[in-house]
Structures are given as C-alpha cells and as structure tokens.
C-alpha cells in the first residue's frame, strides 16, 4: 500500500536536511512512527500524505508514484486512498456533522451513501450527532468525528498525527481502539505519528525518527 524510499526534505532557507527512514506498509498493517519534538514527525507525515514535495526520494502509494504527481492529481489521489486525522480537528463549519462526512465521500469520488456514513458515526458512538453543527461538538466529539471523516470513504491508508497527545490514559486507549477498529473494518493500513511514549507499549511495530541527520 505504502512504500517510501530515501525521503529527504530541506526547508526553504534552512541549512539542514532531514532524512527519513524508509517505510513499507501493506493493507491491514499498523505502524507507529515515534520521535521527539523537532525530529520532523509532522514533516514526514505530510511528505507521505503528499502535502509537501520531498527534496529527494519517492513515495509510492497503491502502486502509483504518488510524490511525482502534479498537485491537482496528488490532491485527488490522496482524497481517494488516504484518510488523515490531524492533530487539531478542522471541519467545514458551514456544514453539519453528517454533511462533513458526505463531503469526504464525495470528494473521494465515492457514491453518496448516507447509510454507510451513518454506520461509521454510530460505531464511534455519535449517531445522534448526525445533524449537529460541528461548532457545537465537544473537543472529544470533534476528534471522534474527524476519525469518522478519515475512514468514511474506505481509504487504504489511515494517517494520524498525534491523535493522543492531549488525552489521559483512558481516552488514549479509547482513541487507539477506535482507530484500530476502523482500520480493521476497512482493511486499511494505519500509520500513527507521535511523540507519545504510551503508544509504544500498545503497538507492536514502531519506527523511530532520529534527530536531524
């Protein structure tokens, strides 16, 4: 599903170049990308997600030379094959929870299937929030809805950026369970990027990001 080779990135005007480990992920696998602050965790995630173009190296997604695609095609390919849970939950604020999920499906090129979207929301315990305004959700609910949005179109790869850093132990377990459950249900690969050491014991495969090479 995901294959990265020799990824390097240099910030504009920066004098150091970040080097990242090669990743190999098949469908249904999970991987924890662990690193302290300043090791370029988010940068790596954005390179994988095609939101940045690497200075060197390639990202291959579902057999496509993803990092080499032109911007618009990369956006569309990402929408179809990936679901991303960002550190902070953002939504289209003019739309309801249900409409945000429908939008994710429609942008990914899926057929409009309200029942499928409702099922996902139900599994996250938020079925009653279908018609709620996103501004009216609590922070915890927002995070769950953003997980729902990341999986509602059945992506092959789920990316999560620091999904647990602000949570206590109990909620950390809950969120991890949700992410795993959704990945399992859709057979997706799950890549979590974090500095949260608690996750280390809970996931079998990790890759450590080294300080700047």
């Amino acid at each position: 599903m995901l294959k990265t080779d020799g990824l390097r990135y240099r910030y504009e005007g920066g004098d150091t170049e970040l080097a990242f480990p090669d990743l190999r992920m098949e469908k249904g696998e999970e991987l924890l990308l662990l690193g302290a602050s300043g090791t370029g965790k988010t940068t790596m995630l954005h390179l994988v997600a095609g939101m940045r173009t690497p200075t060197a190296g390639t990202v291959n997604l579902a057999g496509v030379a993803f990092s080499a695609l032109p911007t618009a095609e990369r956006d569309q390919t990402r929408g179809r094959h990936m679901g991303i849970v960002f550190q902070t939950a953002h939504f289209v604020r003019s739309l309801t929870v249900g409409e945000n999920l429908a939008l994710a499906r429609s942008l990914a090129g899926c057929s409009p299937d309200e029942a499928a979207a409702k099922t996902v929301l139900e599994e996250l315990g938020l079925a009653h929030k279908w018609n709620a305004r996103v501004d009216a959700l609590s922070v915890g609910e927002q995070q769950r809805v953003s997980i729902a949005r990341a999986v509602v179109h059945g992506p092959g790869l789920i990316l999560a950026d620091e999904p647990t850093s602000a949570l206590d132990d109990a909620n950390t377990d809950a969120v991890l369970t949700l992410l795993r459950g959704q990945a399992e249900r859709t057979g997706a690969a799950l890549l979590i990027v974090t500095h949260d050491q608690r996750l280390k014991d809970r996931m079998s495969r990790h890759v450590a990001l080294n300080p700047i090479a």
Partner: protein
Amino acid sequence: MKAARLARRNVLHRPLETGLSVLLLSFGVGIISLMLLMQRSLTEDLDRNIKDIDLVLGAKGSPLQLILANVYHVDVPTGNIPLADAQKVMRHPYIEEAIPLAYGDNFELFRIVGTEASYPAHYNAQVSTGKMFDAPFEVVLGQEVASATGLELGDTFYSAHGLTDGTDVHRDKAYTVVGTFERTGAVIDQLILTPIASVWGVHEDIEDADEEITAVLLKKKNPLAILTLPNLLRDTPMQVALPAIEMNRLTQQFGIGLQTLRAVALLIMGLSFISVFIALYASLRDRRYELALLRTMGAPPRRLFALVLFEGLWMTAAGIFAGLLLSRLGVMALGQVLADRFHYDVTQLAPVQGEFVLVAAALLVGAFAAGIPARSALRIDISNTLGQGR
C-alpha cells in the same frame, strides 16, 4: 457536494458579512433599475400622449405650460382664446387635422373636456359601453374615471368650477353619462369628454365665455407650418408650441437630477463590490484550515477557486435579485402615489432592456471582485497551514 452548493452554505454561514454586501448591492441595483423603469414609463407615456400632435395652439404664456395643460392635462391652461381667431389657424392650408379643446370644470378632480369626436379618435379610444356623445351635456368617461368615480351609464352629475377643487358646484345643468371608453394608456383614461357646447353652456351665466376655447391640438400637413405659424400669430394673444421640443427641454431639466442619482447608485454599487471583496478576503483568512482541509480530502486547487468564486457570485446574484425586487416595489409604491395625486399610471413591472445590461455588468464585476480572493485560495500551502496546529 457541488462547489456551488457548498458556496451557498458558506455564504449563509456568514449572515452579517453576506447581508451587508447583499444590502448594498440591492440598493445600487434597485435605484438604477427603478430609474430605468420610471424612465420607460415616462417616455412611453409622453410619447403615447404626444402621438402625432405636432403643434398646440393656445393663449400666450409659457409654452411648456401650454403643452402640459393641453396634451398631458397636468397643469392649468395658459388662458382661453376666441374660437373665431383659432379657426383661422385651424383652417390654414398647412394644417391637416385640428382638434379643439375647451375646459375649466371638473368632477371629483377629473377634468371635463369639451371637444369633438376627433379627439378620442386620435388616440384610438373605442367606446366600450354605451355610445359616443352627440348632444350637449352628454359625456363619455375615460376608463380610470369610470372605475374611480363608479359612475355608470345613465348617471347624472354636476360639474365643479375650476380644475383643482370640487367645492364650487354648478347646480344648474347636469351631465349625463352616455358611454365609457376602453383603456388607452393615454391621458384620455383620466378625462371626461363632452361636446364643446356643454362647456359653453355651463359658463354662460358666470362670464362671457361664449365661443372661447382653451387650445387646439394640431397635426401639420406641411413641415413649413412649424416655421410659418409662429410668425402668423406674433401680434395676436395666441401662440403655438411644439410638444416634442418642450418635452425634450423638460426631460433635460430632469436629466441633471437623474444623473446625480445615477452617480450615487453607481457609487453604492461600487461599495457593494468592495464589500463582497472584503467579506471573501476576510473569510479566507478565517477559513484557511478549512480550505487546506478540503485539499487533503481530495479537492484540487481549481475547486477551491471555483468555491470562492461561487461564493462571490451567490452574494452578487442575491443582491441583484433583491435590487430588482426593490425597484418593483418602488414602482408600485410610486405608481400608487402618482395615480392618487395625478391620475397617472406608471406601474409597469416587465423588465427593461437596460436591466439586462445592468444584471450582466453586475455579475461580471461581482465575479471580478470574487476572483482576486479566489486566486489567493489557489496558493494556500496546505502543509504549513495544517502542520502548525493552531
């Protein structure tokens, strides 16, 4: 979800900013459209009433007043002229048609005009019920008069002296309604027509008004009439005035006021487009996470461009729609006032040709005002925007 639909939701999500832009634009569009509608009504009305009348003969005084009084029946006449003198002009070889008018009385402020059958014939006014007058004190009512006064065939009434109040009633001779005209759209709708002899009959005992008329509407046979007649009348108490020229002069007087109003309306429209621009620009800064998010969900940059453009067009379209609605309401309100005070009907709501140009121009400028913020939506760096948390 289509970009246009999401754009509409986004626009409605910011009711204050959207409201201000729409309000400003609706005022700009509304004023210009109202002016166009009124201009059409007026020009059509003026032309319909002038209809082939080349010259108006009457007592000396303001030529504009002569026209307003005798063609449009909105001003008092300049005075009366002896029928015998007027006939010299009426029978002039350069004149093809001459319609005498004599009046000075009203019924419920509708003018009672003594004339001949050629007057309604000139305006193609057909008798819809009853018959044409053929004896003194028989009257045929214009359509507006009939509906406003409720007079019916066979009813009788007394006229009041003068044109502007109904207090001084002639109690000696009653008029009898013998017919009503169909609606013509011309001033005849507001008049009560009767043979000239009735007018002379009413005034016999008050003053020596015998054999005097108020004015004659003339149609020329020869263009030289316009040059010859003024000379012919130089040393008489009479004059001829040209409706086309006088009305032209009048609309030019209006013109300065109208130009000022138009400039104000254009200024308001200009402000509204600036407000559309600012509303979108400010909202983009507010929503940069949202737009970056749309990109990560699979919307290519061109879709963000379309989204912001559509948001601008929604606001513009709403403003245009509200403006056209406002101008219609304005015409109906103004029409009511004009109908009440001057018996003048201006209520025409069909679109004017100029309005199509107005709508097209507004959409174009609206698209341009939205285009600049839309372009900046193309350049969002999604990684920087979403990577910094908040």
